[in-house]
């Protein structure tokens, strides 16, 4: 099983999905971002974005925070240390697959 193409060593299946990879990449270089920014930059629909954000949150890779900007409630997402580590590891693993 370990030699199966379905199980490239080190590739995190949560991040490997292109939409989630985009979200994690976007969040990796900022402190936090709101739903609208992620929606615009990822090009996903609202429903799709919500599903992928939930999946990342379940994995402990991102954290949602409800804040107020003025009087408007605001939802921000940020990458957790676990998410950052998983993203760094994913990039390394991706490189090593091609190097081998």
């Amino acid at each position: 099983m370990s030699k199966s193409p379905q199980n490239f060593s080190g590739l995190d299946r949560v991040i490997h999905e292109p939409a989630r990879l985009t979200l994690v990449a976007l969040l990796s270089s900022v402190e936090s971002a709101d739903f609208l920014f992620l929606l615009k930059e990822s090009g996903l629909t609202k429903g799709n974005l919500s599903v992928h954000l939930s999946r990342l949150e379940e994995a402990g890779y991102i954290q949602m925070e409800k804040t107020f900007r003025g009087k408007i409630q605001h939802t921000e997402y940020h990458l957790t240390p676990k998410g950052k580590s998983a993203f760094d590891q994913y990039r390394k693993s991706l490189g090593s697959i091609f190097n081998k």
Binding site: A25, S29, V30, D34, L36, E41, R69
Partner: protein, 245 residues
């Protein structure tokens, strides 16, 4: 795939420049600083030391006030225009860090002049180096700024910064050539003793004129770039985002 990941990462990094406001504000800051430097030039016969101390004090006040105004202005503009259209991003760089970066950049501009002047008080030969500074300072400054702008552009994936860097370099070279064409020495007098060395104060004044010109030209170019970016951004995002869009 990795290339696409990098592009995505860079897109998030460049979000601070997406609406053009940052370039307009920074360009405006450069123009204000150039104006302050120009106004405070030692055109009268004021003793150099008292003029220098007075200018330093005034420039620091102008810097602090204008940088604070720029930060507050940017914060307001982004809060009312950009964030409702394309969302809010909290950068890792805080307002205080931006203040420190801008302050250091400005110090970086003035430091070579102050250092050379101070050194010239102790080392006789520095005077001759200083004499050729009006020619070489703009070229060096243009080169350093161009490298900084291009590298920042590469880090954020902003192609227009390559053009900005190129124009900055050409501006620096242009100002240096202009100073040389006015008869100022382009090599230290010690290297070429036949060159008539202009008085120290004139060298400093001409160096400040060169700095002034670069600040103005770079500031105006940044503002143009910012306006073009803003117009494109507004065309792409005419209305604040609503669920109906």
């Amino acid at each position: 795939m990795n290339v696409q990941i990098d592009t995505t990462v860079k897109r998030a990094r460049a979000y601070w420049f997406v609406d053009g406001f940052t370039e307009i504000a920074t360009g405006g800051l450069f123009v204000i600083l150039a104006g302050a430097l120009f106004i405070t030039r030692n055109t009268s016969q004021t003793p150099f030391l008292s003029w220098f101390l007075s200018v330093t004090g005034e420039i620091i006040i102008v810097k602090i006030v204008s940088i604070l105004a720029v930060i507050l202005g940017l914060w307001w503009l982004k809060d009312h225009f950009t964030y409702p259209r394309t969302g809010f991003v909290r950068n890792r760089i805080t307002g205080i860090q931006i203040f420190v970066i801008l302050r250091n950049m400005i110090l970086f501009l003035l430091l070579p002049i102050v250092s050379l002047f101070t050194a010239s008080l102790f080392i006789t030969s520095t005077g001759s180096v200083l004499a050729s500074m009006p020619v070489w300072f703009p070229v060096g400054l243009g080169l350093i700024w161009a490298a900084f702008v291009v590298l920042a552009g590469e880090w954020m994936g902003l192609i227009r910064f390559r053009l900005l860097g190129g124009i900055t370099l050409l501006t620096g070279i242009g100002v240096g050539i202009w100073q040389a064409a006015m008869g100022l020495p382009n090599v230290p007098a010690a290297v070429q003793p036949t060159i008539l060395q202009p008085p120290l104060l004139e060298s400093i004044d001409r160096t400040l004129i060169g700095l002034d010109l670069i600040l103005v030209i770079f500031g105006v170019i940044l503002m143009f770039s910012g306006v073009a970016t803003f117009l494109r951004y507004r065309k792409e995002n005419p209305q604040p985002y609503t669920d109906d869009v």
